[in-house]
């Protein structure tokens, strides 16, 4: 079970700020595949991974990173603070 968080337009496109997901995905990319297969809004949000960033337990990570032991996965667009 992982907690998935969505921010900015990813949150708006999926329509949820967060959700708990039962998954056996080994990597972030595997998890993305599972989410894409769920519904059109997920497929739309995850259509272009180059426009997305991912954090695992609040640290930036790559899409091929392992989910082993991870409790919190966050998907969001490139940051625009400052």
């Amino acid at each position: 079970m992982v907690e998935i968080l969505y921010f900015a337009w990813v949150r708006e496109r999926i329509g949820l700020p967060r959700e708990q997901v039962e998954t056996n995905a080994a990597t972030v990319a595997d998890l993305v595949e599972e989410l894409r297969a769920r519904e059109e809004r997920y497929a739309a949000a995850f259509a272009d991974l180059s426009a997305l960033r991912v954090a695992l337990d609040q640290d930036l990570a790559d899409f091929d990173a392992s989910l082993d032991g991870v409790r919190e996965v966050a998907f969001f667009p490139p940051m625009t603070g400052g």
């Binding site: 921010f7 667009p77 625009t80 603070g81 400052g82």
Partner: protein, 149 residues
């Protein structure tokens, strides 16, 4: 080292003034302030979303790295989230070092990393609609300066 993430406004002048005093061995203080800018004359307000928890972690990491790299006497980051009007302060950083080169470089480093590595997202509300501010390739490219040295 002082990191603050808050929705409330802050007083840039008071913060800059307080930061600049009381470091006997710092001859140089640099501050940066980011302000909501209306380029088109149609911006009504800005909304800044962030990732509570990760934001503080990311800013602390960036501040720690800058402090070590330039032997800073002190550094400060304040970043707001939530609703902001045109002309309001979005954020500020401040650095104190013995010499001006270190204070300037460290402040630019803080800004470059904060911009592309701290989880904030800006949304603009205009008369004709809303839109997320797109990240700029030049912001990502700016980070390259700090790995080459």
């Amino acid at each position: 080292m002082d990191i603050r993430v808050q929705s409330a406004p802050f007083d840039f002048g008071a913060e800059a003034g307080a930061f600049a005093t009381g470091h006997d061995n710092a001859g140089a203080v640099v501050t940066f302030a980011g302000i909501v800018r209306d380029d088109t004359g149609s911006l009504q307000r800005m909304v800044i979303e962030h990732y509570p928890g990760m934001t503080e972690r990311a800013l602390e990491k960036i501040a720690r790295e800058a402090t070590g790299r330039w032997d800073l006497k002190d550094c400060l980051i304040i970043h707001r989230h939530g609703d902001l009007a045109v002309g309001e302060m979005i954020m500020m950083v401040a650095t104190a070092a013995r010499h001006r080169k270190a204070a300037f470089e460290a402040a630019e480093y803080l800004m470059d990393f904060l911009k592309s590595r701290a989880p904030f997202w800006k949304k603009e509300i205009t008369g004709s609609g809303t839109g997320w501010v797109a990240s700029k390739d030049e912001d990502e490219a700016a980070l390259g300066r700090w790995s080459k040295e």
